[in-house]
Symmetry: C5
Subunit: 251 residues, 5 copies
């Protein structure tokens, strides 16, 4: 569970609700047609911008990435070292029976146990990395475009409200509440863009870079297991991928 995403999103929404309630009633900020035109408009226009199937897939990938916590690189490295020790004590074939929870590491280990050559092993695992990176970048692009479209549909809703209000300007005492309702869609659009879509697109970028790093650590580790490298040297090699603070020995 990624604490930051949840804390940030619900904290921001809490602050917004607090600010609303300090100055008036929350009911004044709920207007079903306004909600429909902004949320509905942004969702529908996403299907004009991207193939439908891609939207569903990328969204699933994005949500999983945003709300799951990042894998712990030191845990992955210690798992790789255990596997390297196992392979040296017994044999590469023994790896087949090892239970590995990380799906990507598992795939690599099974390929090693099958006696796959280094060049093929690297090519298979790096293709996987490339596909994951592409899926993430697609998800990121979709979130960014939804973030751009939210204020646009907010403005369209506000223009509809203003034109309706101005065209029927009989009762001046009605102007205030009508303008309040017209501004609601601009408010919804601003919150959706700046609390949800745009920040999530930024987080997805950082998270994608992290996952690529972990997968690259795994590729190096698996290739070293295949060559039966010394686990102590292997640890140094893998920890070079980490920032100094995260290395076991410090430096």
């Amino acid at each position: 569970m990624d604490v930051g995403t949840l804390l940030g999103v619900f904290g921001c929404l809490g602050l917004v609700l607090g600010a609303i309630m300090m100055g008036g009633s929350i009911l004044a900020f709920v207007d079903v047609p306004s909600i429909l035109i902004v949320i509905g408009g942004v969702v529908l226009v996403t299907f004009v911008m991207f193939p439908m199937q891609t939207v569903f897939n990328s969204f699933k990938v994005a949500m999983k990435t945003l709300f799951s916590s990042a894998p712990d690189p030191t845990r992955i490295i210690s798992q790789i070292l255990d596997l390297a020790n196992l392979a040296r004590r017994e044999s590469l074939v023994a790896l087949e029976k090892a239970s590995v929870d990380n799906e990507f590491l598992n795939k690599g280990v099974l390929l090693v146990a099958d006696g796959t050559e280094e060049s093929l092993l690297r090519s298979i695992l790096e293709t996987e990395i490339a596909f994951m990176r592409q899926r993430h970048s697609y998800g990121q692009n979709i979130l960014k475009q939804m973030g751009n479209m939210s204020p646009a549909f907010g403005m369209i809703g506000t223009l509809i409200g203003l034109i309706n209000m101005l065209g029927a300007l009989d009762d001046p005492s009605n102007i205030g509440p009508a303008m309040a309702v017209a501004l609601l869609t601009t408010f919804y659009g601003a919150v959706m863009a700046n609390v949800l879509f745009l920040p999530m697109a930024t987080k997805l970028e950082a998270r994608s870079a992290e996952e690529v790093l972990y997968m690259e650590i795994i590729v190096e580790g698996v290739v070293s297991i295949l060559h039966g490298e010394n686990p102590r040297l292997l640890q140094d090699k893998l920890e070079a991928f980490l920032t100094p603070a995260k290395r076991t020995g410090g430096d």
Copy 2:
């Protein structure tokens, strides 16, 4: 028929109409001079921005791409495999009589049946891909620029309306309706840009990438047929272009 484009465009327009009718009359949103200046202005300024012939051609290409459904890659791969089997059973010349509905695949197959060499075959087919990509990118650029010009002409129309209204400020009861009409062009411009032009430019980009992918699958397939490669290996090779979910064997 691309369901997403149609659903998105008509869904958004439906939401906009719904929001209009909940708060007033649809008639208040129809003003012929306002429609003329925004739609007419955007169309005319497109001829200042791009050569006329290019505008017409690119528009045709863009519409065909946006509203036709994407070719199914698995169907194309199975067609290529059928042709590969035919060529191995009979001969390359037999391909001439095969009926292939995909125009690009057909062109490639006829070249193979004519005994064209690999290097020439690749060069002819890749030139075709390059031209298609260029036509798509031209169409995309035109849609993007029309999307940028729509709010600009909306603002020009609103400024004309405001200046006219302010210059003749005799009857205060007239201000509201006059401002409502002035805002109409801003509204038209916002809807045109954010429901039509900009999202379509984004979809065209995704669709163009898809078509290029399918054409590259066809180039690889046709070259393999020319070399009489094993259809089983050919299938693996072509499916490597697809995301894992779409491969026949999964992975």
Copy 3:
């Protein structure tokens, strides 16, 4: 004469005039000090942004390119073929007496008649292309910056009008007309940027790409004449530069 540029510019201006006259009088949109500050300001600030001599030269180049019609590539190719035939029938020296209206083709043909070697010939002609491309890109940059400065000076004019009006708010009945005048500069700036400068910068880019293409066709043609290549093969080679629709044989 480039029909698109003229049709677009005058069509847009016509639409703007029509919209003005439907809602009021054209006289309300003419204010000499407002015209002075926007047009004068944009012209003067261009001399701060670019060396004066460059502004004059680039402007001349841009106007010539925008309002002249594009050369017809098929006519150029047929001219090159005539020259190739002439050179094969008589001799390279005979080219000296051929009358060629395209200045760049003429230069190339004279160099061939003088017996210039291929490498020198290419280098001279490609330097010419590079210079033309640079002049066009300079002109394009100037138009783009003028397009950015137009709304800025429009806003400066409107701010002056608003501050003057607000500072002397004695007679409320005067507010409307004063604000109308203040908004005029914003209106002028929006029209100048979106009907003239920005669209022309975009057209100049497309037109420059076209001219470069024609000049590259000429370079290939002139080099082939120098080598005495077969005119039939030469035609195929030159038409490969064109989109399929424009080739004589179709494809």
Copy 4:
């Protein structure tokens, strides 16, 4: 202590306070809920945009860099020359006992004293430079995004205030003060973005380039010490990294 950052930030805040107090009371510009929504919103949304641990680390790095003064390159060069003389007079091993306050230079000198080879020495030191550059660029990106989010949360706060005010428009005499409070969040967002976050991101970029330059001088110096180069030639070599004005001999 970087005088510029402190002078700029406190000078700007002083000017803002002065302008506030000349036209009214500072109390009118303090509103706790408004402060909460802008500052709280920007901080919380940063945790949606970046992994929490990264935010804390990068912030610490950024602050240290912004408020500490830049190292003096001539002092570093003279320190390197002293070390070079020491190494030539005594031996490379003697460097171990030299006291060097610059941490990076110290690390390099110890590696030389340990007899590390040039290629390994360079690789270790350049990895360090790459890590520092990455930490700085992360910090810069976080500051930039906080600068983009500040006006966005300012606008969200203002929209909440406006909608609350317009929905309860009973007492016209209340409009002014309510709008003043609504505008406060826009004001806070503008000051935070333009006085703090965006300028600091720009400074961090310049400061990072400076530090990289000093570290590159140290790498060259340490390698020269390893090779026992002539200190006079070493000085020329290191001063070539400086602008002419900072060189001892001028030029």
Copy 5:
């Protein structure tokens, strides 16, 4: 003296003054606290954005470049030809006594007279060019960022004015003048950005490209003098750097 920069800046300011005086009094546009917050804020925030020493140096460089007239390339070429003739008539050493006013050409000539080898000569002169280009690009970046900050501080000033005015809305007759004063900072910011900072950043870019060109002509010329090349060939070589219109022989 660069006529364009002066004409443009003072012409624009003249137009602005004219527009102000046609509609009111120039006194209504002078407000000391408003001037302080915009000009003072932009200057102070520049010290947050860039190291102080860099700001002062770059500003000096930028001003010298903007207000001095561009060197005349044909004059430089004729000077180089004179020096080449002198070196051929007498000797390379004779160059030492030649009086050359262009500082960069002088430096190159002295190096030649000292018998510097070509590779060292080129490296020294090109380092000089690289440093100048970097100083110019730094100055340009500072001007651009000041241009971005001017409207931001204009808006901050206007928000302070508006909040003060709205919070003390007792006397309605006071609204107009108070809003006029509040808008002054927006006006100052718009003029500073669009008449001074942004256009000067653009001019500095063009001027820097010109100076680099002249310095490259000098490098080629000095190297040719070193090799004792034929002055006639040297002239052709150097004029190839100029646009056709500026060459002595035309083409």
